[in-house]
Structure formats: structure tokens, C-alpha cells
Symmetry: C2
Subunit: 391 residues, 2 copies
């Protein structure tokens, strides 16, 4: 062999144990890591189909939906966004994207790749959300086929309320798609009641499953749009007409389709993540996250720090953005926490780069003990950074 | 909550232990399952970047390539195929697909979704491979931008030799893409020497990693095509200009890009799968698979069974297709093995449905003991099926 075995692979794998209090991924519960290491099953084995059926019910529960076309994509949350766009949009269709952080920008980018005409509703300040009037005016103006909203912008920490948007999109006969990657489980979600047509979330945030599978659901209205396209769905891997058959979402007597090789082990983990939420019950999960956020807010105030988002009701409980104090290099703070405690605090992203710290409160990590530890480490790291800008 | 927690999720997860001797996934080695259950790391953590660098070197080794644009996609093998098509093809481009089973058909389907003009070179018999003259004539006739070949058709068990095709595609100034999902590690692969421009494999076959990550590599020539497109790459998730930056494949002083959230745990597993191959050394892995295949062939002959592919040199060592004897219902045989031994033998797929058994020899399962067990169970199941067509 011309190319020899790489020497790096002769050494053992070393994975440090960290506490991940950034905006995700969060630490997985031991029960989930244990599930991951179960033996592999084939993608057409009946035991795996049972697990997939249980996952579907678990997703219907956390989304509060009865949608039949509900499943998990074998890819990260970005693919959830891509699945919404490539299934619902055809070249020339207009999409209205609400942009107040990088996820709106990403959605616009992906919609453009699908040949859509992208209209953006943008805030001048990235630390504010959209009013229902702003949204209705934009819909009235552009008459889009699809409106795309991010419920929780993890780049800014902004929370976008959704109640009432679905009434407007129905009135103007357009579809409503919502990204809940960073928000689901920390704030309410009622997919059916709120008349949302496409919804996805990340598994590696509040559900606490390692990345790689993405829960997604489509309403009957979206289903009809997908099945009545003029052009082919451009991405085979995300084609809901086929994925839905693999996940047994259509007529129950259709045979399961071998669309792609699902990842049995990630599905075990997702099943367990959903089971943990079902055990605790969704309303309690949400309440726990909100209680932790309040505890964090109090501690941040006691430290004399300022919030990027002043109005508490506009803050996403799962991602808190805190202004970097003057004279402090954010990177020194983050590095201090990681170096001394293997503790992840995070800097900004997109519009907040260099301006904020981001603290995640997610799933297994959402405990008062972790909040207190976060505050103690943040305090120590800030003091250190003020005294010495070098690590 | 209108929709209550599903009762199914109140029960514990149960995963049976099986021996997977079908065409994949195969059983993962304990070292790989152990790696999977390590704590989650963030997608931008330096320890994970180190693991990604090691994976890149491991892929370069198993592909025998020095290509810089070498990485693992966070999705199953189908996404590898999709990545080849959506990065290399633009609407109106001609692609020549060699079809002798379902993977060629799937490639044609995906190329069409990308707006390409698809030309197929097809065998009248699915149990034969293509001669170099047939391939050259088709290239001469269609002058495609891209030629797509499956090295190992897991649906038929046919092995397509590649040596010499790259000389032709270079002469006609077209790109050569090869699917090695089911073949890599059981037959030789010299990506650079054979002048292959795009190559991907499955992780869940001979590398023995649970599905969900897909090694892929592009030549400098393919790289140039990707960076000089007239149209945008339609799929963000598979965009090699961005993925390459996340995997540090371009200029070394470019910062790592946050393109999507990679699955740390699947990357640990892939790193370990590649390390196992590097420890044993690729030529020994290939030899072990070929020795196991020969042992299986002898046993099959002793059982008086016939091969779907008569000519032994045309058989893929990793997937053997055996004709279902007259008077036997293939499903009874497969079900008997599963019911009594939790042992996976597989039926046909695509052109071989109902006609063959498929036996996989892959990775951790490729041992003489497993071959002997396969033969013993097959013998017993066939005897049972002849005596009684009911389970």
C-alpha cells in the first residue's frame, strides 16, 4: 500500500468529560448513552420498526400534533430545515423568512438553493422579536407560499411567540413552517392548535440525544402540497413521500419502504430521549427549564451583568445571552471555564459574535446545581479576566 | 396537554442481540459500541477536531488517496451518492450510469432530481459485470460529464472491476465516481492510482460502525469542478465547499466553519472503526474477507446449492448471492434462521427479489466461525423448509 496506516489511529480514543452549558449539544443522560451502545439492528427489522413507531408517537407528543407524517430524519437539525424547504418549495415559489439571527439567514440561504424567491422580514435590532402586526403586514405584502419562523434564535437568545401566526397564514392560504431546534421543551408548543404546517426540532438540545437525528412533522395541508408538486423533490434523502412510507405514515397496509439505512443506534437514543420527556411529562420539563432560567437571571443580576435581551418575556429560557462587560475579552472567560473546569460557556454567534456570552439550559443539564455552578464559574472567570487578559 | 405521553414509552427499550450476516449493517465490534457511549462533545471543540483529522487520515488510508477534500458526511450512504450528484452535476449535464442492480438505478434517480440528463449502460443479465470495452463505447457515445460506477452491487452480488476505467474517463475528459458502500475492505481500492474523482463508502458494512456517517473523497479535478459551478449547489447539507472548510480540507489557516452540528458520538465510532482497520492493516482485512468468502463458496457447493453469479471472479466477496432452490420459499428459510438463532440471512433486493439468498461477510462478522455457523443454519433451515412450508 502506497499510503500506510496513519500513526494517529494507533493511539487510543480519548474523550474528555465536560459539562456542556452552551447552546447545544447538551450532555446526554446516562440512559441515552447506554442505549447508544446496544447492538446494531438492521433497518428493516421488526424490532426497529417498533422503536420507530414509538418515536413517532413520542414526537407527536412533544409537538402536540396528530399529524400522520411525523418521523425522524437521519441527519442533523440543518437537514430538518432543508427538508422543509426542499419538500414544500418549488422553483419560483415565494417564501417569507423572519430573520432575527443566523437561523433565519440560513433558512433564506437554503430556500434560495431550492430556486425560491426569498423575501425577508428583518428587525433592525437582533435583540427583539416580531409583532403579530409586522408579520401580518409582511404576509399581506408578499403573499408567500410559505412563511418560515424560528421560535428560539439560539444566536441571539430571542423568543418568537407563535400564537396567532397560524390564523394569519391560513387566512392568506400560505403554509407556516417553524424551527424549534433550540426552543422545544423550554417553551410551549402546540403544533395543531397553532396551525403550524411544518415543524422540526434538534435532538441534541433539550431531548439530550447526541446529534444526528431530527424530529419533523408535516400537517395534512403540507402533505397535500408535497404530493401535488409539479417538479420532483430535488433531494432524495429528504423526500417525504418516500420517508413517510419508510416510517409507515401513510396507509397502514403499505409495505415499509427501504428508502435509506436508518441509524438503529441513534434511533435507540432518540427513543430513550423521548421516553425521558414522557416520564417527566412535557409541562414539567418546560417548567423545570423556566425555573432554571429564572434562577440564572437572578444570579446574573447579582453579578451586575446585563442581558442582551432586556425584556424578560422575550428571552428564550433555553439560551440566555449576556452582554460581555467592558474591558473583558469574552474568549478569556470561556477559555478559563473550559481549562479549569471542563465547563462549556459559549460566546456569541452571527450577529452576537464578540458581544455576548451564551448560556444554555437544556435537558439533562437543566438543574439548579448546574445553574449555580455556571454562576460561580462565570464569576470566577470574569474576575480572572479583569485581572489578567492572558490565560 | 391534549395529547398525553404515549404509554409505549413507559416500557423499557429492548434490543435483541442478533448476528447480522445479511448485506449490512453488520455487527459493530465492542470497541466501537463502547466508543459510541462516550460523553457528547460540542461540534466546535478542539478534541473533536482532532478526531475529525484522524478520521480524515483513516479515510485517506482506506481509499488509498492523498485527496485533501476527504471527510465524513453526517448521514447514511445514500447521502454519499446524493453528495456526488449534487456537487458534481448541474442542470443539463450528462451523466452515464452503469446499472446492474438497484444502486445504479438509485444513482440515476438522484441524478435526475439534480436536473441531469441520465444515460444508462445496462446489462441484460443482472448477474454479469461490464467489460472495459462496453464502458469505453458508452463513454465515447454519450461524452458525459460524469461516469458513475458501483464497485460492489449488494443487490446482486456482482463485482465490477475498476482498473482501466479511470484512464478512459481522463482521456474523454469526464469525471469518474464510484460507490463502494458494500465493497470497500473486501476488494482492493486505489482511488488515486485508478484515477477516481469521487468515492464514498458505507460505515455500517466492513468498517462495522452503526449507520449515520459516510466517508467520501473528491479528487483535485472534482474539487475544481465543484468550485467552478455556474449554479449553486442545491443541497446546503452536502455542499462540499462548506463541508470541506468544516473538515479543514482547504487552506490550513482558514478557521473551521460551523456548517452543521456533526454527531460527536458517531464520529467516535467511525474513528474506532478506522483504527481497527489500520491495526489489522487493509491488505489483511481484504484477505480475511476473501478467505471467508472462499470458505463460504466451498460450503455452499457441498450443500448442493447454486450461485447467482457463476463466475467466481465476478463475485463480490462481501455479498454472496445464492439461488433459492426449487420448491423452497426463501422467506421460510430466512425466518427460520431469525426465529431459532437470531441469525440474519437475507433475501434478494431489486432484480433478485425472491430469487436469491444474500449472505454478507463484513467486518467484525467476517470470521471462519461465523461462516461455519451460517452454513449450518442455512442447511438446517433449508431442510426444515423442504419438509414444512409453514413456520
Amino acid at each position: 500500500m502506497e499510503i500506510p496506516p496513519p500513526v494517529e489511529l494507533k493511539l487510543p480514543l480519548i474523550v474528555p468529560h465536560k459539562v456542556l452549558m452552551g447552546p447545544g449539544p447538551s450532555n446526554a443522560a446516562p440512559r441515552i448513552l447506554q442505549a447508544l451502545s446496544q447492538p446494531v439492528l438492521g433497518h428493516m427489522h421488526p424490532e426497529l420498526f417498533t422503536i420507530m413507531d414509538e418515536i413517532k408517537k413520542g414526537i407527536q407528543y412533544i409537538f402536540q400534533t396528530k399529524n400522520e407524517l411525523t418521523l425522524a430524519i437521519s441527519a442533523s437539525g440543518h437537514a430538518g430545515l432543508e427538508a422543509v424547504m426542499c419538500n414544500l418549495l418549488e422553483p419560483g415559489d415565494t417564501v417569507l423568512v423572519l430573520v432575527n439571527g443566523i437561523w433565519g439567514e440560513r433558512a433564506a440561504n437554503i430556500a434560495e438553493r431550492n430556486g425560491a424567491v426569498v423575501q425577508k422580514l428583518q428587525k433592525s435590532n437582533s435583540n427583539d422579536n416580531f409583532s403579530i402586526i409586522e408579520i401580518e403586514n409582511a404576509i399581506k405584502g408578499y403573499l408567500p407560499k410559505l412563511v418560515f419562523v424560528v421560535q428560539g434564535e439560539s444566536s441571539t437568545g430571542i423568543y418568537q411567540p407563535l400564537d396567532g401566526i397560524g390564523e394569519i397564514t391560513r387566512r392568506y392560504n400560505c403554509l407556516l413552517a417553524v424551527d424549534t431546534v433550540a426552543s422545544l421543551g423550554s417553551v410551549p408548543m402546540f403544533m395543531d392548535q397553532w396551525k403550524i404546517d411544518a415543524l422540526y426540532t434538534g435532538c441534541q438540545k433539550i431531548i439530550g440525544v447526541p446529534p444526528g437525528v431530527t424530529p419533523i412533522s408535516f400537517s395534512q395541508k403540507a402533505h397535500n402540497v408535497i404530493f401535488n408538486r409539479k417538479t420532483k423533490i430535488p433531494v432524495y434523502y429528504l423526500d417525504m413521500t418516500l420517508l413517510g412510507q419508510q416510517w409507515n405514515c401513510f396507509e397502514k397496509n403499505l409495505p415499509r419502504l427501504y428508502h435509506h439505512t436508518t441509524s438503529a443506534n441513534l434511533l435507540y437514543a432518540l427513543r430513550e430521549g423521548l421516553a425521558i420527556v414522557a416520564d417527566e411529562e412535557l409541562e414539567n420539563v418546560i417548567e423545570r427549564h423556566q425555573r432554571c432560567a429564572e434562577r440564572l437571571y437572578k444570579g446574573i443580576e447579582l453579578l451586575g451583568l446585563e442581558f442582551y435581551i432586556e425584556d424578560e418575556v422575550k428571552r428564550l429560557p433555553s439560551v440566555t445571552t449576556i452582554k460581555v462587560p467592558k474591558g473583558v475579552d469574552w474568549k478569556n472567560v470561556v477559555d478559563y471555564a473550559m481549562k479549569n473546569y471542563k465547563f462549556e460557556l459559549s460566546g456569541g454567534l452571527g450577529p452576537t459574535v464578540g458581544k455576548v456570552f451564551r448560556i444554555g439550559i437544556m435537558g439533562y443539564n437543566a438543574t439548579p446545581e448546574n445553574i449555580d455552578k455556571t454562576l460561580q464559574i462565570l464569576k470566577e472567570a470574569l474576575a480572572y479576566s479583569k485581572n489578567d487578559s492572558k490565560l
